[in-house]
């Protein structure tokens, strides 16, 4: 407790949802104010810029749909990461797991002779499995050989990126692409349909939202969820309770990697319709999802909303580049600022400010 004049600062352990939301909004607003001079520096009135962005994004359904579309991979990866972070497993590898899913989906779409109706279900299934395997490797490496998870997941991202590069330059190079490093386009049966007048592949979006709730349920209401929380919060207690780290971390990473794999399926089946250079398949979605999961404070359902926030930031960045003609780097500066303020204001959530007059010491003094 701290006294500042007539106020008392109290520490709270569990801020209410309203507080969290309110302070998050406040921090974004402050970030936008701080960033205003950047616009002015490029000869654009900050107020007009924000107004233009707001109108541009919320003004029409097709523009707003871009927010949803960019949020899809972030929801799937973000939900998976909340689970991993709950178990204190630092999965920096969603990017690689996403690419693994994209590779598996491409394999099914182009090379697996199955009836048209089975194409998409199998793509999602194999995409999940591929992501899960790519996630399971670092889990086993950590449990069995003590390999640090940050390093193994990070390195596996690079490894998968070069595998994709190898595939599109080598065995999977499309015969119709005149030697360029792309696979052929997917058949129609392997493409996801869009919401009207948008590029929102709705099936993946629905999948993401549903899975967020399922993961939240597993985490809160099942034995596995309990074990995950114990492993994360108190490894010693978990050991005494006889919880198998191998089993728990393996399952966590199978789900976490699998969800990222699904995101990869969504990207190739919904947006690209082919496999191409890895940096163009994922716009760092796997890395951004780390922030998505953190801002969601480990809650899978909250990750839906933090993913939408980043969908909005991405869409706003696109808008600044085209309509306002600002250099693309400004998006990075902006994202950085918003993030700094979001987490900087974090502390506020755990403090409550109230008048101190109820307290005896103060009333006696105030009475004099």
């Amino acid at each position: 407790m701290k006294r500042i004049g007539p106020f008392v600062l109290e520490r709270k352990l569990h801020p209410s949802r309203a507080t969290v939301f309110g302070i998050s909004v406040l921090s974004v607003v402050v970030a936008l104010l701080v960033a205003a001079p950047v616009f002015a520096g490029y000869g654009v009135s900050p107020w007009k810029a924000y107004e233009a962005i707001g109108r541009g994004i919320f003004g029409s359904w097709p523009s707003f749909s871009e927010v949803l579309r960019r949020a899809i991979p972030l929801i799937l990866c973000g939900v998976g990461l909340t689970l991993a972070f709950r178990a204190q497993f630092w999965n920096i590898g969603a990017e690689g797991q996403l690419l693994a899913g994209a590779v598996a989906a491409t394999g099914v779409a182009l090379f697996l002779p199955v009836p048209d109706g089975l194409k998409l279900p199998l793509m999602f299934l194999f995409g999940f499995l591929a992501g899960a395997i790519w996630g399971l490797i670092p889990a086993l490496l950590r449990v069995k050989l003590g390999v640090n998870d940050v390093i193994s997941t990070l390195m596996l991202n690079y490894v998968m990126a070069y595998i994709v590069e190898w595939l599109v330059h080598g065995p999977w190079k499309g015969p119709t692409m005149r030697g360029f490093a792309y696979t052929d386009a997917f058949p129609l049966s392997a493409r996801l349909s869009y919401l009207p007048a948008t590029r929102v592949h709705w099936l993946t979006l629905v999948l993401g939202v549903v899975l967020a709730f399922i993961v939240a349920f597993v985490l809160a209401r099942t034995k596995l969820g309990y074990e995950i929380r114990v492993v994360g919060q108190n490894p010693d207690a978990a050991r005494y309770a006889g919880i198998s780290f191998t089993a728990v971390l393996s399952l966590v990473m199978i789900i976490s990697g699998g969800l990222a794999g699904l995101a990869g399926v969504g990207e190739v089946a919904g947006i690209h319709w082919r496999l191409r250079s890895p940096s163009h398949i994922s716009m760092n979605y796997g890395y951004t999802a780390i922030i998505v999961a953190w801002l969601a404070r480990g809650s899978p359902v909250a990750a839906i909303f933090t993913a939408l926030l980043f969908g909005l930031i991405f869409a706003a960045g696109d808008y600044m580049k085209t309509v306002l003609g600002l250099p693309f780097q400004i998006t990075g500066v902006f994202n950085g600022l918003i993030l700094f303020f979001l987490i900087g204001f974090d502390l506020l959530m755990f403090w409550r400010v109230r008048f101190a007059q109820k307290e005896k010491v103060w009333t006696s003094q105030a009475g004099s």
Binding site: I151, M155, I291, L295, F334, I343, D346
Partner: protein
């Protein structure tokens, strides 16, 4: 090709390519030893790279350019320290934010500086006498800048400081158990601030090396992911400055060899070799007895609040 030529080119290139990695890793080791993860290395390096280039281009003094790069790296790290130590914000998110911010800002400021050769790059040294030694001379004492030797020297110095002095004990105890350190009268906040800022200073120099020595010019995004490799190398080196030396140069050697060996192995597979190798080495060492030494500092990533735990 004879063995001597292979040795010379591999070692000499490993040193040159490993320098920015070594400086960055040494800095990150200190930050993490004090309990603060800084994922902003990429951002601090690119800010350092731009600053060093711009200052050297304007003043003709590469040494001064590197000093400014160090200062900018330190200032960037100060932001991270303020966020994570004072405001106790999440270290991972703050670091990622710093990387985004740094890449963006350096890119913004750097517009218009591209495509200009640097008139006065940091000179490469030919060490009199030593460079005449057959094989070894060409391997170690030619074509390197002062930063190669300074980096290695620094690694030894930082190792001594960390493991053989009271300051080092203070830093390590702050990273291991800040509560105990606090009780012993160590100023946890100050130690963390100093270590994080020092980490930024070294990352700034590492970035500056890229633009005034390794490839004397400025290009958007020229760090190309080196900051992330630094994060990995810090763990790879078990938070030990001496191991950082061989980690950085080992990675440099693999990177160089991935081009040298293209005649014999598929280039795509060679490209993923350095990354795969890092995992394999760690996994292999997991079989041995050294496993307990690989443990991260106990309070890594955890903000310190007096009176809790």
């Amino acid at each position: 090709m004879d063995i001597a030529s292979w040795l010379v080119s591999t070692v000499s290139r490993a040193l040159a390519f490993g320098v920015p990695l070594l400086w960055g890793t040494l800095g990150e080791i200190y930050a993490e030893r004090a309990g603060v993860v800084n994922l902003g290395v990429e951002g601090m390096m690119i800010l350092g790279a731009f600053t060093a280039f711009a200052v050297t281009q304007s003043t003709g003094q590469p040494g001064f350019g590197l000093l400014c790069a160090a200062a900018i790296g330190g200032i960037a790290a100060l932001v991270h320290a303020f966020m994570t130590v004072t405001l106790r914000a999440n270290q991972y998110v703050s670091g990622l934010a710093l990387s985004m911010f740094g890449l963006g800002l350096a890119g913004l400021l750097g517009r218009g500086w591209e495509g200009k050769p640097l008139g006065n790059p940091l000179p490469t040294l030919t060490i009199p006498g030593l460079s005449k030694i057959p094989v070894l001379g060409a391997m170690l004492f030619q074509d390197q800048t002062i930063l190669t030797y300074l980096g290695i020297f620094l690694a030894f110095l930082l190792w001594l400081l960390l493991f053989r002095t009271r300051w080092g004990v203070a830093i390590r105890s702050v990273g291991e158990n800040p509560g105990t350190a606090d009780a012993l009268g160590i100023n946890v906040t100050l130690v963390r601030y100093l270590c994080v800022v020092f980490g930024g200073v070294l990352a700034g120099v590492g970035g500056g090396y890229l633009s005034v020595a390794y490839r004397p010019s400025w290009t958007e995004g020229m760090t190309a992911g080196m900051g992330w490799i630094v994060i990995a190398l810090t763990i790879f080196a078990s938070w030990d400055p001496l191991q950082a030396i061989w980690g950085a140069f080992f990675f440099g050697a693999l990177y160089h060899l991935s081009y040298r060996l293209q005649t014999y192995l598929s280039p795509e597979l060679l490209k993923l070799m350095p990354y795969l190798f890092a995992i394999v080495v760690l996994a292999a060492s997991g079989f041995g007895t050294a496993r307990h030494r690989r443990r991260a500092p106990g309070a890594l990533g955890v903000p310190y609040v007096r009176g809790e735990r």
